[in-house]
Subunit: 405 residues, 2 copies
């Protein structure tokens, strides 16, 4: 999703032709890419799951590409905790070699920008402290497919999102143990453990993200997802998890966590994941993709329904805030009814399944949902037009048209 390109290896034989051309171009193409922020990325598709996610349930997924795998809208089901086998995947770079998970406890992360910086192994982190947090993981570009200007990047509809349980050590605990933040720091910066191919400027492609320092209060260094050891596909052995923030900030195979005075100069931060008008290039003075906004969508029914009583299902979340209310409209937003939030409440960063029971007579229905968070923020009707198709929480585009026969 960022303007930052893919590295020239490994061969992406199943990927889309446009990207393949870039990859063949190597360093030159990477340099050129800086001048081409609007390169259209065609929809690509695979026939079968790549090896590194072969354990997932293919029928629940849409295979856009090797590193971009979406959850089917209808696969969310009751929506409490998204099964790992159903969860979307989005990598900014190909994952490191799977051998990094042979001995996950040996993985090291450097903690910097504290008064007593040091490296810590996962084994050491596991003895420091632990908590579990349910949190929505959502790609910044979820909903991009609804932008009419053809925003470049994977054409996600609603399935670049899931709600999972992370387990790890509260980052704040680690920082306190290392003497607390160094003077003057304002950001929390995480660096991914992907290999950077030789000949490229690391800044151009490395996954290194900065978020405001306040995120330190809720962040985790996580070694489990959904009560299982964190798989390579989702960032194992160790992932920086920032509940309520867009996926890109949740740095996988995290090898360095630094409290910094400035945001990183990596392209994925300086020009990638920035909100700007259509046709404008990315720059550091534009808003970055940090906290998620309030959002919801219907997951069932999707195309057809029976005459008579039906249950309209969906999920709703508020980023860093609890969902307070979800309304559903059967007539494209002319009239609204309150839906019921169901199931256990997993906390402010989780999503809530909702359901509305209703009688439907034959005809076509435009079913839309609108969530409101505890601070009174509601989903707008319209999308916020922006170059990269980020932040989409407009309820109109997220509706479904259902025929009752």
């Amino acid at each position: 999703m960022p303007a930052s390109p893919m590295p020239p290896e490994p061969p992406q034989t199943l990927d889309n032709p446009a990207r393949r051309t870039l990859l063949k171009g190597g360093v030159g193409a990477v340099a050129a890419l800086g001048l081409m922020p609007l390169i259209p990325v065609a929809r690509a598709s695979l026939d079968t799951l790549p090896d590194y996610v072969a354990w997932k349930r293919q029928q629940d997924l849409i295979l856009h590409g090797r590193e971009t795998i979406e959850t089917q809208r209808g696969a969310i089901r009751s929506g409490v905790v998204t099964p790992s086998r159903t969860l979307f995947v989005r990598n900014n770079l190909p994952a490191p070699d799977p051998s990094i998970n042979d001995d996950p406890d040996a993985w090291e992360v450097a903690i910097e920008g504290v008064n007593n910086p040091r490296n810590l192994t996962v084994a050491e982190l596991k003895r420091m402290n632990v908590t579990s947090v349910a949190s929505v993981l959502q790609c910044s570009g979820n909903g991009r497919a609804f932008f009419p200007h053809g925003a470049s990047g994977t054409q996600w509809t609603v399935g670049a999102a899931g709600c999972v349980v992370w387990t790890g050590v509260p980052l704040k605990h680690v920082i306190d143990e290392l003497g607390g933040p160094a003077d003057g720091v304002r950001f929390l910066t995480g660096t991914g453990g992907e290999e950077i191919p030789e000949g490229l400027d690391p800044k151009d492609i490395m996954v290194e993200r900065s978020v405001p320092l306040e995120a330190m209060e809720t962040a985790l260094l996580a070694w489990e997802m959904n009560d299982e050891p964190l798989d390579l596909a989702h960032g194992g052995p160790l992932r920086l998890v920032i509940p309520g923030y867009y996926g890109v900030n949740n740095v996988k195979y995290v090898k360095r966590v630094a409290l910094t005075e400035e945001e990183t100069e990596a392209r994925i931060q300086t020009s990638g994941y920035r909100i700007r008008e259509v046709g404008v290039g990315g720059s550091p003075d534009q808003p970055s993709m940090w906290e998620m906004n309030v959002k919801s969508w219907v997951t069932l029914p999707l195309e057809s329904a029976h005459e008579g009583r039906n249950l309209i299902y969906g999920v709703a979340f508020g980023g860093t805030r609890n969902v307070d209310r979800v309304e559903v409209s059967l007539d494209g937003g002319e009239s609204w009814q309150d839906a019921e939030l169901i199931g256990p409440d997993l906390g402010p960063y989780a999503w809530r399944p909702f359901v509305l029971a209703t009688e439907l007579s034959p005809g076509d229905y435009r079913i839309v949902s609108r969530a409101t968070d505890e601070d009174g923020n509601s989903q707008p009707r319209e999308r916020y037009e922006n170059e990269r198709g980020y932040l989409h929480n407009g309820w109109e585009d997220h509706g479904v048209t259902v025929t009752v026969a």
Copy 2:
């Protein structure tokens, strides 16, 4: 676990010799079994998972037998929601043919003992109403291995238990839709869909269980577990779930739910799952295995730990009541410290992971945990001695001895 025997098919070639002899005996052996309530069931083991659970994670499991598969104590990890691949399995009879899940929506359940009894398909249930409930699923005999008198049945230690999310229609909603309970009913009776071999009296082996009518208020007819369609191994297409009640009451492949004036006369109810003194046979005047009691156990460390700071992990639950407090002792119960409950609270029927951070110097430690529910019920020190090894929540037996080097 009940005295009720297994049917003579299918061939249990990998099972234990004692049971195989019985199975060969057919009807005669079944009749004889009525006179032999104390038949010892030897520990059996399989090399690999049976086909119907081949999708599970074998390294997380202990294979006692084809229908009795335990979760490893160390596989619970953060303990929020037990992954389906890690969850224990216990069948009283071999499951029906997997083809019953080819079209789960077509499965029918008869609802009786209401003013307007009728059959309902899963598809119809799905349009009536829905909720999700997190609940501990635990076999009545969990902890049986700790009984010194050699209680017959699978020698479960702590792993015939897990905490999962069930999704389905509240049974109360279904009953209300069918005109409410008929006059005079006092029990909720569920009947499993297993095939009963010809030549046997169904009452001798059928899985039919009755619980007090009040359980109707919280019961579900569930078609999902952990946000996935309910697998055959766990009772799909449809399971009667009674949150906070022992596993046997959660009838799999449920084909009939009846509100009844009396308890079922099936052996699994009349003599099976009854609490009585050692050496005494089962009878209907003894307490039945209904609501679960308050319980906890340590899941990490199990044998050894490092010198210095350690986290003691475990899980605790209160049956139908919230857990209020968990204490941990490092000296076999001489002194206690409060542990911290961590992660999201999934409601009264779920378990809570707990953790205690402590400094350990070299030596041997007897680590035990003791939970107290919101009504002030605490785990006792001792087990309650009983013939079949049920109800075990004594904290002493559930401890672990850990060597710190």
